[in-house]
Symmetry: C2
Subunit: 194 residues, 2 copies
């Protein structure tokens, strides 16, 4: 076990390289391949940087960016759980808690506790920063699906009602303005002229 | 031309999806494929989050993170220029300036000017935040090369002297502690027992 703080941090940074190999269900916008969780995390951080003014209440954009950079890191151990999956949420959360303990446990203090706390804050989605981060984590794949003509909704036979139910509350809670736009786009996507 | 600020921001966020298809020379640590510039940007932001205390002088980690998130966005238009490339730096910089103007020009104000200024600050590498960001942008591929047993150095026939010359000053300027470690690793990599 490494006890030099710099080397511990580098061990962690090397370990999370594997997030680049965790494949999500969403495609890239040009549909050339599916997105991985590392580039997804980069994209969400850019969403937070640019869309912070649309949060329900003022948020600390720097905290939201950090939260989104690390929100998927547990997937290095447990993989991505698609939104339209039938996995038990309890089993999934238990596995993710263990992964978070192992991965953030590679870090020295205070970073180990700080990053674990930020990850838990995102998962629990009770603070304003976390609610906004969660909303963005739903907005991005929703927009990908709309732009690519259905994306993961087609693959999973997801209806308008299911989309409104699975994305709506989370986006609405973090950003009513973004949900207003997303709802319009979704209604149009599933609409009679589709 | 879109004039609604939210839609302008979403247009920009969709445009930069293409950074996920810009392929760098560096491999992933498991050597399964080459890294793309979007996931590289995510990884560097994580480096900044964890290694901020090793900067030459105290830096604003939040600014460094933002700078690294957007430092490669011009590659959406001009592609990646490898460190060990023979392209003319002047031609390259001219093309990147044009790409930055087009891409950040998709955004409304004040974000358009703010992000362009942050990108230029990184490129010019005169502020302490930018010097540290530039150092990390060299540290990460250097570590990839060491860990993967040579990486892009093997591909390009790069010697110890060239590595010290092409990585050393930039890393040393932003983080003497990181350069001290990197130099040890590089000396060992090219050493007699290699
Ligand atoms: Ca996820």
């Amino acid at each position: 076990m490494q006890t030099n703080p710099l080397l511990q941090k580098l061990t962690f940074l090397h370990e999370i390289d594997r997030l680049k190999s965790v494949i999500r269900q969403s495609p890239l916008l040009d549909r050339s391949r599916k997105e991985n969780s590392a580039e997804h995390s980069w994209h969400l951080a850019m969403y937070a940087l640019l869309l912070q003014d649309y949060a329900t209440v003022p948020v600390d954009a720097n905290r939201v960016i950090k939260m989104l950079l690390l929100h998927d890191i547990v997937e290095v151990d447990v993989g991505d759980t698609p939104l339209h999956s039938s996995a038990s949420p309890e089993d999934q959360y238990h596995a993710e808690i263990q992964a978070a303990a192992r991965l953030f446990g590679l870090l020295p203090e205070p970073e180990s506790s700080e990053l674990l706390a930020l990850w838990k804050e995102f998962e629990e989605a009770q603070t304003e920063d976390a609610k906004f981060a969660k909303a963005l984590d739903r907005v991005q794949p929703l927009l990908v699906n709309v732009i690519t003509g259905g994306g993961t909704w087609n693959d999973n036979g997801v209806s308008l009602e299911l989309v409104l139910q699975r994305y709506g509350p989370t986006i609405q809670r973090g950003s009513p303005i973004l949900w207003q736009l997303c709802e319009q786009l979704v209604q149009k996507h599933f609409g009679p002229n589709q």
